[in-house]
Symmetry: C2
Subunit: 333 residues, 2 copies
């Protein structure tokens, strides 16, 4: 990218809707590409849960740790250079160990819980802690109210999300995904404002069912997106998810895992759909539902960029490719 591009990007305000690991990668690309403070991130809190009395927000932590440059590069969760003194002691005590809690990670959960117990809202806590971590981008939980994602399995049980994903290693077959909270978990006003005031919005390459849908399910979010220029980046490449159970979930829900399926899933809100350059282009008549959705391919335009983000350069390049596309398109209009 030329410095001319960078100068152009300095005008842009972008808002990304993100889940955990895949979302965090995309977010850090925009954070580095834009002027400090011009990125807003609306983060899924459907995974949040209480464990050992502590309020744990896995996706917010993934995003914040990545933005602060302290995320663990090997695992995709937790912190680099983490220690495990408390985890070892918990094991000795016979406490459950299925959710791994590093010592420094634990300090974050403790301080968040302390601030919440002192009456602060989750969004206030996230603002305080992200500032203390030196993060300049704005990080918003999707809601200040709980909106837990539950997994109904084909075996008939309803599992809390971390139970399903971590304790049971995403092994149960998914029948239905339930987005909790309903009308009681309104979209965070600051998140809505960030969506409204952005030049464009990006749905990060997170799991559509359990990372992005919980955000879209918040009253007010879909309405705000319809008025916006919205990009989505596919988390599926050649039928597979780079990480996590997205492809397995698609299959269990009776949908062939593909970028096309992701595009169809999001179609109501999208302007542009980005999928990886390694895939064949998505054709108008690829969609088996095309007949009853005449014209959709005219509305949702597909783009192909390199979406595999192995290092920071890849992340920044993808963010800049989307920004450049937006600027060109804006100039065309």
């Amino acid at each position: 990218m030329t410095s001319e591009n960078d100068l152009q990007f300095s005008e842009l305000k972008v808002t990304v809707l993100a889940g955990g690991v895949g979302g965090a990668k995309m977010v850090v690309g925009f954070d580095r590409a834009l002027r400090p403070g011009d990125l807003s991130v609306v983060v899924n809190t459907g995974d949040d849960f209480r464990h050992f009395g502590l309020q744990i927000c896995p996706d917010i932590d993934s995003v914040c740790y990545t933005l602060a440059g302290v995320a663990n590069k090997t695992y995709g969760w937790g912190l680099e250079g983490e220690t495990w003194q408390v985890a070892d002691a918990l094991k000795e005590l016979g406490a459950p160990t299925w959710f791994q809690l590093g010592d420094r990670d634990l300090a974050m959960h403790m301080e968040r819980t302390r601030l919440l117990e002192h009456g602060k809202s989750l969004s206030e806590v996230v603002k305080t802690l992200s500032r203390r971590m030196g993060i300049q981008s704005k990080v918003y939980p999707m809601s200040d109210q709980p909106a837990p994602t539950m997994i109904e399995t084909k075996q008939g049980s309803v599992l809390s999300f971390q139970d399903y994903l971590v304790r049971l290693a995403a092994e149960p077959e998914v029948k239905r995904i339930i987005h909790g909270g309903g009308e009681h978990a309104q979209a965070l006003p600051g998140a809505l404002k960030a969506i409204e005031e952005a030049d464009f919005v990006v749905l990060a390459p997170s799991n559509p069912w359990v990372s992005i849908d919980p955000i879209l399910a918040r009253p007010g979010i879909s309405e705000a997106l319809i008025k916006q220029t919205v990009y989505a980046v596919s988390p599926i490449i050649l039928g597979k998810a780079l990480k996590g159970p997205a492809a397995k979930m698609f299959a269990e829900l009776g949908i062939e895992p593909s970028s096309l399926a992701v595009m169809e899933h999001y179609q109501e809100t999208l302007d542009y759909f980005v999928h990886d350059i390694s895939e064949p282009p998505i054709e108008k008549n690829d969609s088996p539902k095309a007949e009853r959705r005449v014209g959709v391919p005219e509305i949702v335009r597909t783009l192909q960029f390199q979406t595999i983000m192995k290092d920071e350069n890849d992340k920044v390049a993808l963010a800049k490719a989307i920004c450049s596309h937006y600027l060109q398109n804006r100039c065309d209009a």
Copy 2:
């Protein structure tokens, strides 16, 4: 002590009422002197508080860590060989650091909080965790309901106990000690039973105001003690407390810190009062209140043993001295 003594002690069931550090020292002496399982300890929970979302029970932990042989020998609180990874991370995050939380200690608070949030009572949690630690003596919180001790200062503020003791280093002048909980914090039935079924009861050399009084304030405890043979061990030696703010509190409450003052404080429930051999004997007419309590010295008999417990031998010797006295007295009767 001869093996004959030890054989005699094997008949005895003893219940100790204890606070933190001084109490834990006495408790471990009886634990080692008696047959496994024949010691019961009723522990002050007036110091319990919530911090970082975790339920912290300082006195229960002091007693359990000491009984399990893992207590820190230098500080009198916390664990031997403790690490401080989480504390360091909390400090980096800008979290409050006035209450020191070692990593292994923290695991205990986390597992306790987890079990409480799963609906277990505090006494069930203490039973479970003390067993997991290999403790054979029975440890009972004084109540399953909260009964927080508050400190009213001469400056007019009311402080929670840990705020006063730890955060403010016991510096504010004490005007009044308030025992919270009232009728809502009944004595634990198991604790009452342990008092009733013991051969004798000992009030450990803990702070009378803030470690023993909260236990005595539980409805049912005083009534149970009146029917029992009760020993108390003075925490004051030659006008000073070995540890903690007991002597300072006595002075601020307008009472000269002395073993006599401790004896007078407990007189309603005592049969025998043990003070250190380094002190002059307490005489009948030492008590300035003797006139209106005629006969008290006839009811409360004073004993002098070595009460400074520098090592495990000292602790066991004091426990055995009290046991021997009890057995001799029982044979005399």
